[in-house]
Symmetry: C2
Subunit: 202 residues, 2 copies
């Protein structure tokens, strides 16, 4: 079969298709778009990918991604080292921190327990969480895992592992999302919101 | 505001968000995914982007993207130099060539005429098409532009420009897509398919 484009471009398309959110077709579109924006996007992207791959790494303490370890959050003296928020993923950490409603520190587990995917406790940063909490500074651990079956299973496991320490363990509240319409909510959320109802003076 | 992640990562997210198909949120997800697959995807992607940006360029004759100019298609002696297929974009060229139903050469216009976007005839590779056809080898020009208003306007303009040459000008047939269900087709397509109906012995 005569080749309509070079194997170089094919290689680029195949690598782009590995990005989450891009399939084979959109990867081809992205490759063509990049070749049209060679100096403004393509080369800067190549340089940035290489630079970030070298400069950014996981924070040894909390598991966040940053150019320094401990990361900017862990080394920020204005943050409350007595509160630790446990999240599944770095993206969750960023989402919570963007809300600016939390001023404590974080601990990224790196996933959830999953028998199906073969993810056991040793594959997550649970041991380092127990060690961190055992050191005595932390007074409260907020379990902020996703409200999925895997997230809640992991939540229970982490709570069990921390039960021997004297730390207070809390979890995110379930309820109606701010701005959410009741009609569009699932039954589980509505039941949780009803069960956790509170006095108006709160 | 305390930073939850470094400006390096922000720069990467902003560049990834410029890819078609990725928004700010999916770009963040892609950046996190890349940082987890640093050696298997991130660094190879950086190297490939740089390599392709250097090695691949537009074919001076047809406008295809390739590592050589004239490209593999233009320099293939098995192809019929008497037929020229005019397409809007390199992606269209690849799509047509993938079908393997066409053995002639191509000419990429690089877009469509658009008063709204300020794209005039001089912004497209129309002059080089006329020159190429005037040289005498080409006997048939197939206009394979998209069946959009812009595509068809451009099609008419190109046909006008070529009218002084003795070349035969044809266009892609409109009709029912192979495997398509009539119920899901728009009225325009159905009308075109009816008007272009043919005897069963064809």
């Amino acid at each position: 079969m005569p080749r309509s484009h070079s194997t170089d471009i094919d290689g680029l398309i195949q690598l782009l298709a590995k990005l989450p959110g891009l399939g084979p077709r959109s990867a081809k579109r992205a490759a063509l778009d990049l070749l049209k924006k060679r100096e403004s996007v393509m080369r800067p992207l190549a340089r940035t990918l290489e630079a970030v791959a070298t400069s950014v790494d996981f924070c040894a303490q909390c598991g966040n991604l940053d150019t320094v370890s401990p990361c900017h959050i862990c080394s920020d003296p204005r943050r409350d080292a007595g509160t630790l928020c446990v999240v599944e993923d770095v993206a969750d950490l960023w989402a919570l921190d963007r809300s600016e409603g939390y001023k404590g520190l974080y601990h990224v587990l790196g996933g959830t327990l999953s028998a199906l995917d073969g993810v056991g406790p040793d594959d997550l940063r649970i041991a380092s969480l127990v060690t961190r909490v055992s050191e005595g500074t932390v007074q409260e651990v907020i379990l902020a895992l996703n409200a999925t079956v895997e997230g809640q299973t992991t939540s229970h496991y982490v709570a069990d592992m921390l039960s021997e320490t004297q730390v207070q363990i809390t979890a995110l509240a379930h309820g109606v999302p701010v701005g959410g319409e009741l009609d569009y909510l699932d039954d589980g959320t509505l039941t949780a919101a009803l069960n956790s109802r509170r006095g108006l003076e709160d």
